[in-house]
């Protein structure tokens, strides 16, 4: 039976050099990121090449995704949040495309590695901190001091709020990573059952229909998860950016 973890293996394609004894290589992960960026760029450039009043198919995709992300951002961070639209739209399109490409059999899923999702989450985390301090100055710290709390438990609450704030990038990144990893492993395991049972004669063939059906169903579910996790990542980004714009409760 094929090893279900094998699909997540990082392979070097071209070694670019060494920095401090650490090999810097162009890996299959980097390749698929580049492919995703290329697909998005082609889609967006192709969609906006002929800007007609009545949109064609490609233009509809681009307009729908723009509207979708813009509405999400506006509803959770207000109109001020629209200055972060490029960041949020890039994150959404990148994660969505990478997830979708990963669903094609034989491809590599970039978001199934926690280092990738962690860097995306940390990008949002540091954007919130730096922009929050830049825009609100000292008042940004009001984020950690909820109003209407009695003074004698305030220190405790502040500690808890700080911990809650620090835990954000973890839950933000682990959610996307774990969903993609678990989904792909489940798919692989069920698909593996099909070949295992298929090698056991007629009864095995009959038995193999069950995992085959499950694999088909799971594939559909994985498409939903791929979209949903991109959406969840985006909406959490918006909610966190809202904190940078309007700290204090």
């Amino acid at each position: 039976m094929a090893d279900p973890i094998h699909q997540f293996e990082i392979k070097n394609i071209v070694t670019l050099g060494h920095i401090g004894g650490q090999e810097i290589a162009f890996t299959n992960s980097a390749l698929y990121m580049l492919i995703a960026v290329g697909v998005i760029a082609l889609l967006m450039l192709g969609a906006t090449a002929s800007r007609s009043l009545v949109p064609g198919r490609l233009q509809s995709i681009a307009e729908l995704s723009y509207e979708f992300v813009a509405d999400t951002l506006r509803s959770s961070a207000g109109n001020e949040g629209m200055k972060f639209f490029p960041l949020v739209f890039t994150l959404f399109m990148f994660i969505l495309t990478v997830n979708m490409i990963g669903l094609i059999p034989g491809t590599f899923t970039v978001t199934s590695h926690i280092i990738v999702t962690a860097m995306l989450a940390l990008l949002v985390f540091f954007t919130v901190i730096f922009y929050g301090i830049y825009k609100n100055g000292f008042k940004f710290l009001k984020l950690f001091v909820p109003s209407g709390i009695p003074i004698y438990i305030l220190p405790l609450i502040v500690f808890i709020e700080v911990l809650s704030f620090l835990s954000r990038p973890i839950s933000h990144s682990v959610r996307l990573f774990a969903n993609m990893l678990a989904g792909h492993i489940t798919l692989k395991v069920f698909a593996g059952f099909v070949t295992m049972l298929g090698g056991m004669g007629f009864l095995g063939w009959l038995g193999a229909t069950l995992p085959l059906g499950l694999t088909v169903g799971l594939t559909a579910l994985e498409f939903l998860v791929a979209f949903l996790q991109a959406y969840v990542f985006t909406i959490l980004t918006c909610i966190y950016l809202n904190d940078a714009l309007h700290p204090g409760h």
Partner: protein, 118 residues
Amino acid sequence: MTGGARKNDGSGKPSPEEAALSARLRSLGARLGSTQRNRPVDENVAARQGSDPSAIARGFRLSTELVAGVLVGAAIGWLLDRWLGISPWGLIVFLLLGFAAGVLNVMRAAGVSGQTKG
């Protein structure tokens, strides 16, 4: 719609249909602009956070929120223990604080807590 009158038909002057169409286009643009300006901004983040589209995603989100809080608390406690040599007090205190932070995260994510805006 009058069939395909969107393009100028070569002559420099726009045809009457064309003029009517562009007038309609302008009024449509103005109407769109005013609706976009008056678009209600949903300030209630709690309602939005509570309305994740699927139950699996929501359940998963809540569990990761709790685990993340506990993990961060444990990590900070462990580091403090190592740096200050106060083992095991840092771990004990920060694990509990982290658990509280995790519960707070879950309440916020579920939209139970009143202070979801922060």
